[in-house]
């Protein structure tokens, strides 16, 4: 997946589409951004300037599906997290999760979220849940899995037509589909045409976690901030 920060207007469509697709419940009373569940979250960067020179950029942040010594996989005490060798997706098994939150401590991107509350929907709204994704229970960790429900559906559709393998068109995550500016693009990194174009960078590359999300920007200040390591910038997101 690659994300063009310059195209992102921070409209939040991806966050909403994600929540709708993956049956993430709306916030209970008293939730703040520190306890909320947003598999994809748009962070706001600004160039720190004051007045009319002030500029914003928006950086959608989701699970980076780290490919090399994935932090969360090795720490989970009960194999609730694993890196799918076939798809390269880091999978989280809520029904196996103990809720020790060690993986959250391990994740440098804070892309994992804990169900602090019992999941609850306003009366009647549970009718709108997506049957392709199981709602999580309280006390477990969850995270983006590139809309695995859609992956399943695509597989099933292909199978119904007797195909084993998928076309790129068969399967895109909800956020990609929803992005109005098509800032988020999605494809198999192994295909040549999806090779990350030059000038694109990954977050916290130096940690050696091999994230699979590539970011692009033409603006230097954005690149400086986004590529920089921890805590060099004042925060806005």
């Amino acid at each position: 997946m690659s994300i063009d920060i310059d195209k992102c207007t921070g409209c939040g469509a991806c966050m909403v589409a994600c929540a709708v697709e993956n049956n993430v419940p709306p916030a209970p009373e008293g939730v703040n951004e520190r306890k909320g569940i947003t598999w994809i979250r748009v962070f706001r960067l600004d160039n720190g300037a004051e007045g009319v020179d002030r500029k914003w950029a928006f950086l959608p942040m989701l699970c980076q599906q780290c490919g090399e010594n994935t932090p969360c996989v090795s720490v989970c005490p009960q194999q609730a997290v694993q890196l799918d060798p076939a798809t390269g997706i880091v999978g989280q098994m809520p029904e196996r999760c103990l809720g020790c939150r060690y993986c959250m401590a391990a994740c440098p991107y804070h892309a994992r979220y804990f169900n602090w509350w019992d999941p609850s929907w306003p009366a009647g709204m549970e009718k709108t849940l997506n049957p392709a994704v199981a709602p999580r229970m309280r006390g477990v960790v969850e995270k983006c899995n590139f809309c695995h429900g859609r992956w399943h559906a695509a597989k099933a559709r292909a199978a119904a037509q007797g195909r084993r393998d998928l076309d790129p068109a068969d399967y895109v995550p909800a956020c990609v589909e929803a992005c109005p500016t098509s800032a988020i693009r999605f494809g198999d990194l192994n295909d040549l045409e999806n090779a990350p174009e030059r000038g694109s960078f990954r977050l916290l590359e130096k940690l050696g976690t091999g994230p699979k999300i590539y970011y692009q920007t033409q603006r230097d200040w954005v690149r400086e901030i986004a590529a920089a390591p921890g805590g060099t910038e004042r925060a806005h997101g």
Partner: protein, 397 residues
């Protein structure tokens, strides 16, 4: 206190962890920090056992019972807190059934569970020594026989403790995502593994020293021979100095090599108030070197107030280290644009912890009341009465 603790714990279990002030960034909060500390302090049990039964340091026989009880208290408390801390306590057995052997946490879980069992077994003879229970012959014999085998348990305990104390350190050493905590090390174990073992071993005796001193102050009885406490102090001191040295070396390596390697210059961590470099200083010098030196200076060691305060400093130092490892690690931002967060435990968290402490105190004081924690105590009652002289004319009438 216990009631309040139970109530808060109940809240957390029934309503879920939203009762706490932990959040997605502060996945670990007060509980984990205190678990780490408590377990480090409880290390006295294994280390004293090790010295007494394996290295045959007889003098420690005076405190071993107390040490075991402390260990038991600390560990059971820690486990209790953990059960509240996890989101799905009903699934605790998953860790055993489907262990991920690469995770430090698995190691911790396994070891702590085993070690708790060991402690319980070690606790049994102490209980059975109670005069009433001893009237039952089978208990008596069992205690006797078990006590003959206790060195085996001590050995196992040492083994287990070594590993779980270490793994507790490893927990944070392996966090590649947090350059602040990440360390390289030997084989699968990051350096924090060994640091934790050392520090725990160092803190344990100090804590026993403290408790013994405290108990004898409270009950104002003399519980152990005067030379025992300084001995503990000395042991603690030696380990402490070793720890401080190791820690210093490790820190230097980390500042100059590991952390930059992860793309973060080390000064950055300390640019966030209130966690300035003072915390590093405090950890290594104020609460590390100084008490160590005090404990190693015979003259000071023999003065009880120096001894005790040094021991206290040591314990605080270890606590501080655990604090840095858990909370500061999580507080520091990793992404450039995420904020430095601070966290303050909610009353439910505090309550639960207080409950655990209350439970600990309760168990300990019961043991102290009904069991013979300090075998030397009997010998140490000084006869105030002058030796009886036979009256000259005794028996004339």
């Amino acid at each position: 206190m216990l009631m309040f603790g139970l109530y808060s714990a109940g809240l957390c279990l029934v309503k879920g962890l939203n009762q706490t002030n932990m959040d997605n960034r502060f996945a670990f909060g007060l509980w984990i920090f205190l678990d780490l500390t408590v377990i480090a302090l409880g290390a006295g049990a294994f280390f004293t056992g090790f010295l007494l039964y394996i290295l045959k340091v007889k003098e420690l026989g005076a405190v071993i019972n107390s040490a075991v009880v402390i260990g038991l208290v600390c560990y059971s408390g820690a486990v209790a807190a953990l059960l509240v801390d996890v989101g799905q306590p009903l699934r605790f057995w998953f860790t055993f059934w489907y262990p991920n052997v690469h995770s430090m946490l698995t190691e911790v879980t396994f070891c702590i569970t085993c070690y708790l069992t060991v402690l319980l077994i070690e606790y049994v003879p102490i209980v059975l020594r109670n005069r009433r229970l001893r009237q039952v012959p089978s208990f008596l014999i069992f205690e006797f026989e078990l006590h003959k085998l206790v060195y085996v348990l001590a050995g196992v305990g040492t083994f287990l403790s070594f590993f779980h104390q270490g793994s507790l350190g490893g927990l944070f050493g392996v966090l590649r995502g947090h350059p602040f905590a990440f360390r390289e090390g030997l084989a699968v174990w990051p350096s924090t593994f060994f640091l934790f073992v050392l520090s725990a071993a160092a803190a344990g005796p100090s804590f026993i020293l403290l408790t013994t001193w405290l108990v004898s102050k409270i009950s104002n009885r003399q519980l152990v021979r005067p030379e025992v406490l300084p001995l503990l102090g000395r042991i603690s001191g030696m380990l402490m100095i070793a720890y401080v040295l190791a820690k210093t070396v490790d820190t230097l390596i980390w500042i100059n090599h590991t952390s930059p390697g992860a793309g973060v210059p080390a000064w950055q961590y300390y640019s966030w108030k209130p966690f300035g470099t003072w915390i590093l200083f405090a950890e290594i010098v104020a609460f590390g070197l100084i008490p160590a030196l005090v404990l190693l200076t015979p003259r000071l060691r023999l003065r009880s107030n120096w001894l005790v305060s040094a021991a206290a400093l040591t314990c605080i130092g270890i606590a501080l280290n655990r604090f840095v490892m858990t909370l500061q690690t999580l507080a520091l931002p990793t992404l450039s644009f995420d904020p430095f967060l601070s966290y303050f435990p909610s009353w439910q968290e505090t309550g639960t912890f207080l409950g655990v402490v209350g439970f600990g105190v309760l168990v300990y004081s019961f043991s102290f009341r009904y069991l013979n924690l300090f075998p030397q105590e009997r010998d140490l009652e000084q006869p105030e009465a002058a030796p009886v002289r036979e009256p000259a004319l005794a028996g004339r009438y």
